[in-house]
Symmetry: C2
Subunit: 221 residues, 2 copies
């Protein structure tokens, strides 16, 4: 798979400005990235800039996964009404820690219902869960039929690992796509995650990754 088309050019810092978001969008178009991933407050700017030429991705319940279902649904609704095509929702981490699996399935289904026509990715924040708990969590989330399982927020205990990608891929028997995110900064790391089964990479290092690839290609030519 082509690297650039797997990249979601990501800027989720709390203090990001509109002009940084505009630059992010320009870079995404220049390099042919899959889309940009920004906070809800920046979705109107991003969608005005991209005009459908790359996906507008945003986040719900981010990054703690500790809000109410009511606010998550309100955010999803607002995002879809403001040009967002893909929603990355953080699973309710506290409910998972309390092993309230049925409620997690219910909440995922409710969000799926509310986001028909959009791409729904569920962020599992893998750094909080041992392999067995992660497997159980994935089973509950998969009842809601998301489009993607996603590894991390980038604000949690750690970023994406190859093991995470393998586990998330296996959880659905390969039927649900995987987005790796958090701490992806080198080309070696990016290709390892893609080879492990990820089809999307959420990273703020997209430009340096494609430049590294270009340098490598020129050297090899």
């Amino acid at each position: 798979m082509e690297l650039a088309r797997s990249i979601e050019h990501t800027l989720l810092r709390a203090d990001a400005t509109s002009s940084e978001v505009a630059k992010l969008c320009d870079e995404a178009l220049t390099h042919g990235f899959a889309g940009v991933c920004v906070n809800p407050v920046h979705v109107p700017v991003a969608s005005q800039h991209l005009l459908g030429r790359a996906a507008v991705v945003s986040v719900v319940g981010f990054p703690l996964g500790a809000g109410s279902q009511h606010s998550d649904l309100a955010e999803a609704d607002w995002l879809m009404n403001h040009g967002c095509q893909e929603l990355d929702w953080v699973v309710p981490i506290g409910l998972a820690k309390d092993t309230r699996w049925d409620e997690i399935a219910t909440r995922t289904r409710a969000l799926r219902q509310a986001t028909k026509g959009a791409v729904l990715k569920v962020i599992l924040e893998t750094g909080y869960f041992e392999p067995e708990a992660l497997q159980r969590l994935c089973a509950s989330v998969l009842e809601g039929e998301p489009d993607f399982l996603k590894t991390s927020t980038g604000f949690g205990p750690r970023g994406a690992s190859v093991d995470d990608v393998v586990r998330l891929t296996q959880a659905s028997g390969g039927r649900v796509a995987v987005k790796a995110s958090g701490g992806i900064r080198t080309l070696g790391q990016a290709y390892e995650l893609l080879r492990a089964g990820a089809s999307r990479l959420g990273t703020s290092s997209g430009v340096s990754l494609v430049r590294e690839l270009q340098t490598q290609s020129e050297r090899d030519a």
Copy 2:
């Protein structure tokens, strides 16, 4: 002012469990704290435990201050319907960085309108702003007539400082209360912030603070 009555016993980790929240509530009652501060997902547990004997405090737009007004209002509404008496709302940090002061005033007013009868605290995340920008931000927020200005989320660039407390107190000419939060771990620090003008301290170290005070009192007796 009595130390214990100024403390909001705080647990905002994404992976906090219901039993940790129950313990937090018990400790708040034992030590006579002002209240507990938890994520929305834990508000039902906290309000069942406290039964009005201490305040249930929760957070909106937390910690990035980067969601939509629509989701912030939905969260506030949900919290008030589930036993939360005090709401700590993160100012839209991206809008402040874009110097969109009128929108910040509008959003604060909207939240104030939605939270009549509850205590509204506005978290400024002071670590992102130079003194002049902070002053301008406070002016916009004060148009919405919050009950408190609050320094930090505890997830941002830094915690509360004495200078922050002085600045927030001066911003309203002392008419709006100040909550200091983030990184408050020692008794010396706690008293410095109270002396500077804070009337509430958001900290996860409340129990060790009151024990330190007790040890000190016993030694001095």
